[in-house]
């Protein structure tokens, strides 16, 4: 096999795994959009907040340390003990559920039947509030997140593939980051679990019911407010997983909330209302941008990954505005 061919395979594999990470963020958007018609601008910040909380708990940071020190003149920063990773993840999950409940009780409840744009604005407000709140609670320095997942290149794959190239070719094997492999497996498990839950359980059916028709859902006894809390909790859970993966990759820093922007083109491709769409959209963008960078990038000076996804999304907006899997928009007149 020629090295170029092997490189291409490597690029596609890496693209697929990057795509899974995009899908993970897009998934959170789709869940909330389907159930309540809200485009949740705060999804990225939720991932950041979850990651911050997780790291904070792991390191035994004192929440609101700066505030406490400023008010009481003390000098506390750390408790001096660490919460084990599993317990920290569970605790963070609980905090995300509490957050979901608070969002419903403090924001959504008061905005029932408002225009989508109003709800959208509310989530923008929420995003900035959470960013500030996260800063106040855990500090703004970049932190390293380690949840015990293996990372670094896979030597096994490198050794295996090094022999595939033609004799004498300059090829030293594929580089696949183990963290990406783990992230992919976890994301796939998560999506399958979510699909099964929504297909085969009462609550799952209720979630889909609310997504389809609010009035009908009420008439069979489904409480919208309960469902909203559940949906935001699940979105919080997805945000936590995304936060862990991205945080482990890039470090927990405030620019993490910008991954939400990467989810936008994924949503335009896949459709705002389709879970499979979020997955496939993410994969297409992941593979697309890596392949484009690999093949065309060198010709036009590189750094195409910054804009490729958006241009692709723009093309979709022109030719297929409902996305690959989204519901067709038919307006009866």
């Amino acid at each position: 096999m020629s090295p170029t061919f092997l490189y291409t395979i490597e690029v596609i594999l890496n693209g697929l795994m990057a795509g899974v990470m995009y899908s993970l963020v897009a998934l959170g958007f789709v869940l909330i959009f389907k159930a309540s018609g809200i485009f949740n601008y705060a999804q990225g910040v939720m991932a950041l907040f979850a990651a911050l909380t997780l790291v904070g708990l792991q390191n035994g940071q004192v929440p609101f340390a700066h505030l406490i020190n400023a008010v009481f003149g003390t000098d506390v920063h750390y408790f001096g003990w660490n919460v084990p990773t599993v317990a920290a993840i569970l605790l963070t999950l609980l905090i995300m559920v509490a957050f979901a409940w608070a969002v419903e009780a403090l924001i959504l409840k008061h905005l029932v039947n408002q225009e989508p744009i109003i709800l959208f604005m509310a989530t923008i407000g929420l995003a900035y509030f959470m960013e500030g709140f996260g800063d106040l609670m855990w500090g703004s320095d970049i932190k390293k997140l380690d949840v015990g997942l293996p990372s670094g290149g896979s030597f096994w794959l490198e050794d295996l593939t090094a022999g595939w190239a033609a004799e004498g070719a300059e090829y030293y094997g594929m580089y696949i980051d183990l963290l990406d492999v783990w992230a992919t497996m976890i994301a796939v498990t998560l999506v399958i679990a979510l699909m099964l839950f929504s297909q085969y359980t009462k609550t799952g059916r209720a979630l889909r019911a609310v997504a389809d028709d609010h009035q009908a859902a009420l008439s069979v006894g489904i409480s919208l407010r309960t469902i909203w809390v559940i949906v935001w909790s699940i979105a919080g859970f997805v945000a936590l997983v995304a936060g862990i993966m991205w945080g482990a990759k890039l470090g927990v820093q405030f620019s993490l909330s910008l991954i939400a922007l990467k989810a936008l083109p994924v949503l335009m491709l896949g459709g705002f209302t389709s879970i499979p769409g979020a997955i496939v959209g993410g994969l297409i963008i992941g593979v697309g941008e890596k392949l484009f960078e690999f093949s065309i990038g060198p010709l036009i000076g590189g750094a195409t990954e910054n804009w490729f996804a958006y241009v692709l999304a723009l093309l979709f907006l022109v030719f297929r505005p409902q996305g690959l899997f989204g519901e067709k928009i038919i307006e009866r007149v």
Partner: protein, 273 residues
């Protein structure tokens, strides 16, 4: 015919109509300056088919929405099963045993017929979410048991062929039937049907009439329905309330209503000489 609230009587065709199950007392509903319902009182007895008729805009659907809690009347009392009802959310009222269908079909369009009707079992399923999430014993048993009930309803409504079809793809008449199935799945104590036959052809109307009568006959379900087709209404209902411009202008058996001067005026117009 004047009867005590708690008395029962036999219909000519041998069905037993029980005591009053739902009573509306002096209901007034306003939207800003518009009065949708003006001081209306009527009752619904157990096991009967009660029709609400009237010209367009008479306030019939509003009345149904008051019964199932979408609207809250400014004045008046709703009594259900011997108790005065506090203002409640619609989903709580569904848990009390009131199910309904909608004038413009409100199905879960992305879901299959089976899932739609299964969702109708919502109030009957109690397993907490963590059991559902892991499909442990109780949740699984509950799922299976409820599925059996749903299959019976599907048999009853003769929609086996479309069990797995997403309802958005079904023709109108069948969608109406699935919606009836979803309401039935809740085993309601009171079933509200908002124009179950609107937009149907004669054949579909006959089918739907038969299902409504069968539901009433086999399960003894109390039914309140709104319908425009006078022929159908007079055929299937035990008692009829007639509304016009938000007010009640007639109440009684189909025969009584048919001969009521005010009703005839509302439907045919009055000669102003």
């Amino acid at each position: 015919m004047s009867l005590d609230q708690t008395e029962s009587y036999q219909t000519p065709d041998g069905r037993t109509i029980g005591p009053v199950v739902m009573e509306m007392r002096n209901i007034t509903l306003r939207f800003g300056g518009v009065v949708a319902i003006k001081d209306i009182s009527f009752d619904i007895r157990e096991g009967e088919i009660r029709a609400i008729i009237g010209p367009n805009g008479a306030g019939k659907s509003s009345m149904l929405n008051v019964i199932n809690g979408f609207y809250h009347p400014q004045e008046g009392e709703v009594w259900f099963r011997g108790q005065k009802r506090k203002p409640m959310k619609p989903h709580a009222i569904a848990h009390q045993g009131i199910a309904r269908t909608f004038q413009n079909i409100a199905l879960f369009r992305g879901m299959t017929t089976l899932d739609n009707i299964m969702t109708g079992r919502f109030t009957k399923m109690r397993a907490p979410w963590w059991q559902q999430a892991f499909w442990t014993g109780p949740a699984e048993r509950e799922e299976v048991a409820n599925r059996e009930v749903v299959e019976k309803i599907i048999d009853f409504l003769e929609i086996q062929a479309i069990r797995k079809t997403p309802v958005g793809r079904l023709p109108y008449g069948l969608q109406k039937r699935v919606e009836l199935g979803r309401a039935l799945a809740a085993e309601p104590k009171l079933l509200l049907l908002d124009e179950p036959m609107a937009g149907m052809n004669v054949e579909e109307k006959e089918d739907m009439s038969r299902f409504i009568l069968d539901v009433n006959d086999e399960f003894g379900t109390t039914i309140a329905l709104i319908e425009h087709d006078m022929g159908v209404v007079m055929d299937i209902s035990d008692r009829v309330v007639v509304m016009d411009y938000g007010a009640k202008i007639g109440d009684g058996t189909p025969d009584e209503v048919r001969n009521n001067a005010a009703v005839i005026d509302a439907y045919l117009g009055v000669a102003h000489d």
